[in-house]
């Protein structure tokens, strides 16, 4: 006899999907096999992200097209002044560069700073609120690769976490799962800057109590690890708490980059041999 009510959902099927999701989570967390799956899924959802970004983009377009003449003139003048200032600075930079090259030759050190950058746009998408990530509109089609460093006009922003053909996710340096090898510009002391999550702060790890760090010290990338180019500003030390009970002092810094307020970011294409490869070569020689 046909039952009057259809039976409920199948429990076996639920168990199957639960096990599949758990397996997916473990594989995604531990291994790299799912990169292609993620990339293709991201391509599927990219139209949705593009459509959400559209009103913001249209707003920008409208405001740039209908802004006052006076405002435009003012802006133009401002940019003109800034350009002049930068030109003057650039002249001095050329001089310093030459001097640097000469001195390096004297020291027989061959370190070239030759990085190129590509501009990318931040899409107005809210990703997972637990983490600190942003989405940019450049992907493998534009030559973006995983772990590629990102900068803005003020300093280091983060690195590329996942790439798909037309977009990529960037993990910011303030994410608790991000660590960045840095050094104190004044003393040359090397340390690691770890993100502190929602607080817009970086924690500087493993600094001894007597390291002589002062509030206001600038921290820059140290280039160790080979992922980030050396010498880009990361932040400023704002808090130094020497703790005698602990082996290390608690030091915090504020990031230099405007992490959450950017529309344009720069992707660095570092084509100088990174530190990691030289270490490898060194190890091979031994």
């Amino acid at each position: 006899m046909k039952p009057l009510f259809v039976s409920g959902p199948s429990f076996q099927r639920l168990i199957f999907f639960i096990v599949t999701s758990l397996a997916l989570m473990v594989i995604d967390h531990r291994f790299q096999y799912l990169q292609t799956v993620r990339a293709s899924l991201s391509t599927v959802v990219y139209p949705l992200q593009y459509v959400i970004n559209l009103p913001v983009k249209t707003g920008q377009w409208l405001s740039s097209h209908f802004s006052d003449r006076i405002e435009l003139i003012e802006k133009n003048n401002h940019l003109h002044e800034e350009n002049l200032l930068l030109q003057v600075k650039l002249q001095r930079l050329e001089d310093v560069k030459n001097e640097n090259r000469r001195l390096r030759k004297l020291l027989e050190a061959s370190k070239k700073r030759n990085e190129r950058v590509v501009m990318a746009e931040v899409l107005a998408i809210d990703l997972d609120p637990f983490t600190r990530k942003i989405l940019i509109n450049k992907g493998t089609q534009h030559g973006v690769f995983e772990k590629q460093p990102l900068l803005d006009a003020e300093g280091v922003l983060g690195q590329v976490l996942h790439v798909s053909p037309y977009s990529s996710t960037v993990i910011l340096i303030t994410d608790p799962n991000h660590a960045l090898p840095v050094q104190i510009a004044r003393t040359g002391l090397r340390t690691i800057a770890v993100g502190m999550g929602t607080a817009n702060r970086l924690a500087l790890l493993y600094l001894p109590n007597d390291a002589g760090i002062l509030v206001g010290d600038i921290i820059v990338t140290s280039g160790l690890g080979g992922q980030f180019p050396q010498g880009y500003p990361v932040g400023t030390v704002v808090e130094v708490n020497p703790d005698i009970a602990q082996p290390y002092a608690q030091v915090q810094a504020i990031p230099a980059a405007r992490l959450e307020r950017n529309r344009e970011v720069l992707l660095v294409l570092a084509d100088n041999p990174s530190f990691a490869t030289t270490i490898d070569q060194f190890n091979q020689k031994q």
């Binding site: 409920g8 099927r13 999907f17 639960i18 995604d28 959400i52 107005a124 997972d128 996942h162 799962n177």
Partner: protein, 162 residues
């Protein structure tokens, strides 16, 4: 008869797409913790309205898309949404006849339950704990369920989705 049963699948797809878009739409920072769980609400609606068509598999697929969209661990939302789909279908006869305020409370409980796997996973991955933040989407979903329900029901009736 078969054709009759399969009408209006595109309406379901579009409602899910729109809910996914709402889920990542930029909000002012004070409103981010209060973002209603649109995807879960739409899933619960279709599960109690059309339990034969929308079910565990749909919930799982939508969850996977959600994961790709928000760049979370693949399978995280898929996990919670397939369980929620199961519970909603299991209870759909009961939920359907509830008065709307009781329905809203049930939806709030489901949304809060759906947040739990994310909290556990984030805890094990070393992110800071959220405290009672996970209840905020449940509260806003309770408030908005009435309208979500009415809009989706009207869409289902206008486009004859059965």
């Amino acid at each position: 008869m078969r054709l009759e049963q399969r009408r209006g699948g595109w309406v379901i797809a579009i409602t899910f797409a729109v809910s996914l878009m709402f889920a990542v739409m930029p909000l002012p920072s004070w409103a981010v913790p209060w973002r209603p769980d649109w995807v879960t609400m739409v899933l619960i609606y279709w599960c109690i309205a059309l339990p034969k068509r929308v079910g565990i598999a749909t919930g799982w697929l939508v969850g996977l898309t959600y994961d790709a969209l928000t760049d979370t661990l693949l399978g995280l939302h898929a996990f919670s949404l397939c369980i929620l789909a199961y519970i909603s279908i299991e209870q759909h006869r009961r939920i359907r006849v509830f008065p709307w305020w009781q329905q809203s409370v049930i939806v709030g409980v489901f949304v809060a339950l759906g947040q739990l796997p994310a909290i556990w996973i984030h805890g094990t991955l070393g992110y800071e704990t959220m405290g009672w933040f996970f209840l905020y989407p449940a509260v806003s979903s309770v408030i908005l369920w009435r309208w979500v329900f009415v809009i989706l029901r009207d869409m289902r009736r206008i486009y004859h989705v059965f």
